[in-house]
Structures are given as structure tokens and as C-alpha cells.
């Protein structure tokens, strides 16, 4: 068989495969995904007034002491681009970024107790990490309580409600979903 005939067979094969795998397969999965409509459409969060205000899977940027802060993000949670800082953990740039974050956090949280958790000082891989550690959430309680005039105990209960434990206790690690936590805070008003 000549090269030309092989190329022709290749072209036909590619077109057939495109129909099967590029149209048929995604269509079948999309239909089957309707069994899980919420997940398939991005686990959207809806506010009390019915507006879509985000996704339970994505972090958001929050300004002001009255909100629980998510992790630092290389893309400021815009959703138009995603990714991390790509800094080596031992690089001078990264050490400086950590110091700056540490200083800013100490300044904004004068009443916080204990060391600043690691996840508060480091940018996530996606820039859209919805979760923080339980330690970091609790570390922020004094600031949020003062800014909102909400008892700390109530905030602790809300943190517990927004905590997503790792499956089986070790497939990943526990996280507090800041987007859900702050949505609960805004709904409280």
C-alpha cells in the first residue's frame, strides 16, 4: 500500500474517530451527567435572593476584616486564568512573599492566637483554592468576630459546618470551604 493510500486511510479513520470520540462520547457523558445536574453545572451557590454568587468548588476574593480570607492566589480568584506562582519554595522571592504575607496577617489580626498556618502564607496551585485549613479558619475568628460583632462561639460553629473532611480521613486533607463559610456569614445578616 502506498504512502498516499495510507494517508487516505488515516484521514478517513481520523474523521470516523472524530465522530465517535469527539461528538458521540462527550454527548453520552453529558447525557449521563444529567444524573448529577448540580455537579455537572459547576456546583453553583445561590444567595437568598436567588442570584448565583459563585461555585462551592471555587474560592473567591474577599476584601475587608469581616470576611474569612481564603489562601493567597496568584490570579486573585478572577476565574479568567488559573495557576500558581511557580516560585521555588527555597527561592528568595518566595521567602520574601512569605514574610510580607506574615507581616500583613499579623497586622490585620492583632488578637489572633498561635502561629500563622502554612496555607495562609502560600499561594495555591490553581489560584482558585476554595479551602483553608481548620487552623487558619479558627485563627481568623477573633478578627471576624470583632468586625461583625458576632460571638466567637457562633463563628466556630459556622466553621464546623463549612468543614469538608478528607474522605476516609486520609484521601487528601480536611479543609474549611471559605466560599460556603462566607456565604453563610452574609446570609446571617
Amino acid at each position: 500500500m502506498s504512502v498516499f493510500r495510507q494517508a487516505l486511510a488515516g484521514l478517513r479513520m481520523l474523521l470516523v474517530m472524530t465522530v465517535v470520540l469527539g461528538i458521540g462520547y462527550p454527548a453520552v457523558v453529558t447525557l449521563a451527567a444529567q444524573t448529577f445536574p448540580t455537579q455537572a453545572h459547576g456546583s453553583q451557590l445561590v444567595a437568598a435572593d436567588g442570584r448565583v454568587v459563585g461555585s462551592a468548588l471555587l474560592g473567591q476574593s474577599f476584601a475587608g476584616p469581616q470576611w474569612f480570607q481564603p489562601r493567597p492566589s496568584a490570579s486573585d480568584y478572577s476565574g479568567q486564568t488559573s495557576g500558581g506562582s511557580n516560585l521555588s519554595p527555597v527561592s528568595a522571592d518566595q521567602q520574601q512573599a512569605r514574610r510580607q504575607r506574615l507581616d500583613a496577617l499579623r497586622q490585620a489580626n492583632p488578637d489572633a492566637v498561635g502561629p500563622v498556618p502554612e496555607d495562609a502564607l502560600t499561594a495555591s496551585a490553581s489560584g482558585l483554592d476554595p479551602d483553608i485549613s481548620v487552623a487558619y479558619a479558627r485563627w481568623q475568628v477573633p478578627r471576624v468576630a470583632a468586625a461583625r460583632g458576632v460571638p466567637a462561639a457562633e463563628l466556630e460553629a459556622m466553621i464546623a459546618a463549612a468543614t469538608e473532611p478528607a474522605a476516609l480521613g486520609y484521601l487528601g486533607q480536611d479543609g474549611v470551604n471559605v466560599t460556603r463559610l462566607n456565604l453563610a456569614l452574609s446570609g446571617r445578616e
Binding site: V16, P26, V29, A33
Partner: protein, 543 residues
């Protein structure tokens, strides 16, 4: 649970799952490629494509079929990417001409290096019609070649290695497609999105704005991992919560990457009618693969840094993913590899530098390992003064020349490519870091491209004409030179008769041969790459 215990349990979980699926998946793949009958759908496909499914091909024709199919795929995919601005469901996304060529080569060679960002470069139509399709067929090409190479070892006095179009179709329809459908639905259940909703800008809880992305992500994600492809729907790849929302989806994705490559040695054992041969290869793959996984995990857990990692995965599961993705030629990431500890970045590099055989990509892992088996048999034969033989086939000058070619092409591309790129000002200025970490960045890019992995030290601004073209060339040669060399090798072996086993035959299924094979792999990779590793990750770790 203490972090060390959790990390040990995590690695063991992956080991146990792979051990459980090893035999059933390996047997199934063996049956797919040895079954004499075609299904009705397959017959229809052969009719539509004008292929005679029962006509077997010589190695040369088989190789031309591989190259023709891949060549046509590159041209059409390149065209489809460039046509994006004219096509519906493209969300206004586009790529430059050189970026588009790099991407087309990248997806056809099963590399899935991405010098574009998914959110800006690839619309829904391209992702489904172009990228998802190549995710399947590029993996099926690797699988087909591996099966053809094994046929060369099993057959006697024939010059036929099978029919590429049949192997391609069966691998796609009987292995990759059913597993992908199941995996995709499982991923949707975990939270991976699957829709045609346009991206929308919403007002966030705090009063800011954010874009919520849509897309046919789950269907692409499943084959992205199962086919050891790795090209993310989004820029952040499997770190993006819509691609990998939680610990369960993360485990599914890790298992998908490793499933077929780690089961193929069992299929190999069945095909050569000596399961010990397959077990030997599986053992060597396991020592290298799980050894690297344990080392990377220990380094990351000890380092403790969460820079470039997601809270829901933490250090251990980011490290396991990083090791799985680099030892399988997948290249998907759930954490930014450039932000790994210096030595863990070095382990990720070493996984690729071994030649993607621990267990390697779909199909490519098996035939890359067979290259090393041929070399090991030859070297061992020289050392003890016996005629080198593999499964009764003598390994002579032609065989060793072809195996050496298949083995040497990637280091040549990596070292020449890295050296050149460091000298050329345009690419040198693309580096984010300087010093040893900067070298690692460039070394990683060329190692990833030439070994068809696709992960990156993503600080490198690789989307520029020089790097796009240089890396595309590495991907092409790194993919097709070994394929042609291995098919030629198999074609020669299939013509030979099988020599009977005598007391003088050196067994290739013993523990001592496995140890020797392991040593050959480590010595070859070590001698080739140690200087560059010393100047990059090792220097950074020591400074």
C-alpha cells in the same frame, strides 16, 4: 491521623489498587488484541475507512500507517486550531500559528505540553473535536505499537506484525472508550463539570466579580488521565477544582494514569506465553515507580510547603500525583511542579529521564522497557560470554543498533535542546528563575517534551516561536524515532525462528535478571543525566 501514617497509607492505597486491577485489566487487553473476531461496529469502521482488517502488515507498512495517521492528525488538528475564530462554540479563544503547531504536535504525540492556557486558547469545540479525540487515538497508537512489538517477539518465520488500523480501532473502542465513559461519570459525581454553558461573569459574595467557566470537562479529564495524555482543560490542569474537586476524584485520576501502563506487562506475559517475563518487567517498573513515589512523598511531607499546592490535597497527595504523572508520561499536574522542593523536582525529572518506563505511557512504557531489556540482554551476554538471546531470538547487531537508537534519541534531544535554548537569548529570557532553578526550568521543558510527558516547570514563558518550534521538534523525534526503531526491531525478530532453551540460555525472568535490568536502567539514565541534575536540582538543594 499523623501525617506520616497518612502518607504511608496513601502510597499503599495506590499500590493495592494497582495490584488488584493488574491481572484482570492485563488479561482483558491481551484478549482484545488476540481475539480473531471483529465486532459489528468495528466492521463498519473498517468499511468506512477502506481498510481490510484481515490483511496483516510488514513492519515497514505498519510504521508508515502510524506515521501517516499521525501526520494527517497533526495537519488537521493544526487547521482546526487555526480555524477556531471562525467556528461556533469557541468562546472567542484562539492561538498563534506557532502555538497552534506546537499544540497539534503535542496532542498527537501524546505529550500534551501546553504553551497555551486553556481558558484563553481552546474553546469547547476544539477541546472536544480536536483535543479529546487525540487524547484517545494518540494513546491507542502507543498501545498498538507496543502490541506489534510484542508480536515480533512471539512470532516465528513471518514478516507480519498485525494490522495497525485494527489495533488502533480495538485499543480505542474496546479498552479506552468503555473505561473513559465509566471514569467520566464517576468524575462528574465527584463534582467535575460537564456542560456547554458559556462562561459567565458573576457578582461574588463579597461584591467583586468572577468568571465561572464551563465546558465538557469530565469527558476530557477521564481520557486525559487514562490515556496518559495530561493536557488540562484549564491552565491549572488537575489543580483546578472543576477538573479535580476532592480527594476521591484525585485518587481516581491517579489510578487512571497508572492503570493501563502498569497492567500491560501482564498482557505481555500472556502474549509471550510466559507470565514470568511479564512479572519481571512489572517488578522492575514497580521498584522504580513506587520507589520514586515514596521518595517524592517523603521529601514533600518533610518539606511541608503548600506553595503551589491545593489545601484539599495537601503535601502527600500532591507528591503522589506528581510522581504518578511524571513516571507515566501523563504530565497532568495537581500541584505546580516548579514549586516542589528542589530534590522532589529532581525526582520528577528523573522519572521522565528514565525514559518513561516506570510504568511509562500507554503502550510506550512497555516498548520503552523492552528497549532496556534488549540492552540488558546484550550487555549481560557480553559479560558472561553467551550469545545474547531474548525469548529464543538472538540479539545481534541489527537489534542492538535499533535499540540503541531508540534509547539515545531522547537524551540527545534533551541535552542538545536545553543547551541550545540556554544559549539563545529569546529563550533564555523566557525563564522565570535564575541560577540552578532556572536551569531546572529549561531542562524540565526539554525533558518533558522529548519524553512526551507534557508537565512543566510552568514559570517558563514557553509560548514564543523559538521554544514552540524547538519543543515541537523534540516531541516529534522523541515520539516517532523510537516507534520506527522498535517496529523495525520487531520486524527483524519475527522473521527469526526460536532457539530452544538449553542449559546455556540466560533466563530473562529471574530475580537476578530483574536486578540487572534495574541496574542498566539506572546506570544509563544516571550516566546520561547526572551532570545536568547536579547543576540543577541537586545544586539548588545544596545551596
Amino acid at each position: 491521623m499523623p501525617p506520616t501514617l497518612a502518607a504511608v497509607l496513601a502510597v499503599l492505597t495506590v499500590v493495592v489498587i494497582l495490584a488488584v486491577i493488574h491481572v484482570p485489566l492485563g488479561s482483558w487487553i491481551h484478549r482484545v488484541f488476540t481475539s480473531p473476531t471483529h465486532t459489528r461496529v468495528e466492521r463498519l469502521i473498517y468499511r468506512l475507512t477502506g481498510v481490510d482488517p484481515d490483511a496483516e502488515q510488514r513492519w515497514g507498512v505498519y510504521a508508515v500507517s502510524v506515521l501517516a495517521f499521525s501526520g494527517v492528525s497533526i495537519l488537521l488538528l493544526w487547521g482546526l486550531i487555526l480555524a477556531q475564530p471562525l467556528l461556533p462554540f469557541s468562546q472567542g479563544r484562539s492561538m498563534n500559528v506557532d502555538t497552534a503547531l506546537n499544540t497539534a504536535v503535542s496532542f498527537v504525540t501524546n505529550t500534551n505540553w501546553q504553551s497555551y492556557a486553556g481558558e484563553a486558547g481552546a474553546g469547547y469545540l476544539l477541546q472536544a473535536l480536536g483535543l479529546t479525540v487525540q487524547n484517545f487515538v494518540s494513546a491507542a497508537v502507543g498501545l498498538a505499537v507496543a502490541i506489534a512489538v510484542v508480536r515480533g517477539l512471539t512470532r516465528e518465520h513471518t514478516d507480519r506484525l498485525g494490522n495497525f488500523w485494527v489495533d488502533l480501532t480495538r485499543g480505542t473502542l474496546r479498552v479506552l472508550l468503555p473505561l473513559s465513559v465509566i471514569a467520566a461519570i464517576a468524575l462528574v459525581a465527584c463534582g467535575v463539570i460537564q456542560n456547554l454553558d458559556e462562561p459567565v461573569t458573576i457578582t461574588t459574595i463579597g461584591g467583586g466579580t468572577q468568571v465561572l467557566q464551563g465546558g465538557l470537562v469530565a469527558s476530557q479529564e477521564a481520557i486525559k488521565e487514562l490515556g496518559t495524555n495530561g493536557g488540562g482543560f484549564f491552565n491549572a490542569n488537575s489543580a483546578y477544582p472543576f477538573e479535580n474537586p476532592n480527594g476521591v476524584s484525585n485518587l481516581i485520576e491517579i489510578v487512571l494514569m497508572l492503570a493501563i501502563p502498569s497492567a500491560l506487562p501482564y498482557s505481555y506475559g500472556l502474549m509471550v506465553k510466559d507470565r514470568r517475563q511479564g512479572a519481571t518487567i512489572a517488578a522492575v517498573m514497580a521498584v522504580l515507580g513506587f520507589g520514586a513515589m515514596a521518595a517524592l512523598t517523603a521529601l514533600e511531607v518533610a518539606g511541608g510547603s503548600l506553595e503551589g499546592k491545593e489545601q484539599r490535597f495537601g503535601t502527600a497527595w500532591s507528591a503522589i500525583f506528581a510522581s504518578a504523572t511524571t513516571s507515566t508520561s501523563t504530565g497532568a499536574v495537581n500541584a505546580m511542579h516548579e514549586s516542589l522542593q528542589p530534590l522532589s523536582g529532581g525526582v520528577a525529572l528523573l522519572n521522565m529521564m528514565l525514559g518513561e518506563l516506570s510504568p511509562g505511557g500507554v503502550g510506550t512504557g512497555l516498548y520503552s522497557m523492552l528497549v532496556m531489556v534488549v540492552l540488558a540482554v546484550f550487555v549481560a551476554g557480553l559479560m558472561v560470554g553467551r550469545t545474547p538471546e531474548l525469548l529464543g531470538k538472538s540479539i545481534g547487531r541489527r537489534e542492538i543498533t535499533l535499540a540503541a537508537l531508540a534509547m539515545l534519541i531522547t537524551p540527545t534531544l534533551v541535552l542538545l535542546g536545553t543547551g541550545t535554548a540556554l544559549l539563545v537569548p529569546t529563550s533564555r529570557h523566557a525563564m522565570l528563575a535564575s541560577g540552578p532553578h532556572g536551569l531546572s526550568e529549561m531542562l524540565y521543558a526539554f525533558t518533558s517534551a522529548a519524553n512526551n510527558n507534557g508537565s512543566a516547570f510552568a514559570g517558563l514563558s514557553a509560548d514564543q516561536p523559538f521554544l514552540n518550534l524547538a519543543l515541537a521538534a523534540c516531541m516529534l523525534f522523541g515520539r516517532f524515532v523510537p516507534i520506527v526503531a522498535m517496529l523495525a526491531l520487531a520486524g527483524g525478530l519475527s522473521r527469526q525462528g526460536r532457539r530452544p532453551v538449553t542449559a546455556g540460555t540466560m533466563p530473562t525472568h529471574s530475580a537476578s535478571f530483574a536486578g540487572f535490568l534495574l541496574a542498566i536502567i539506572l546506570v544509563v539514565a544516571g550516566l546520561t543525566y547526572f551532570p545536568s541534575l547536579a547543576l540543577g536540582p541537586i545544586a539548588e538543594a545544596l545551596s
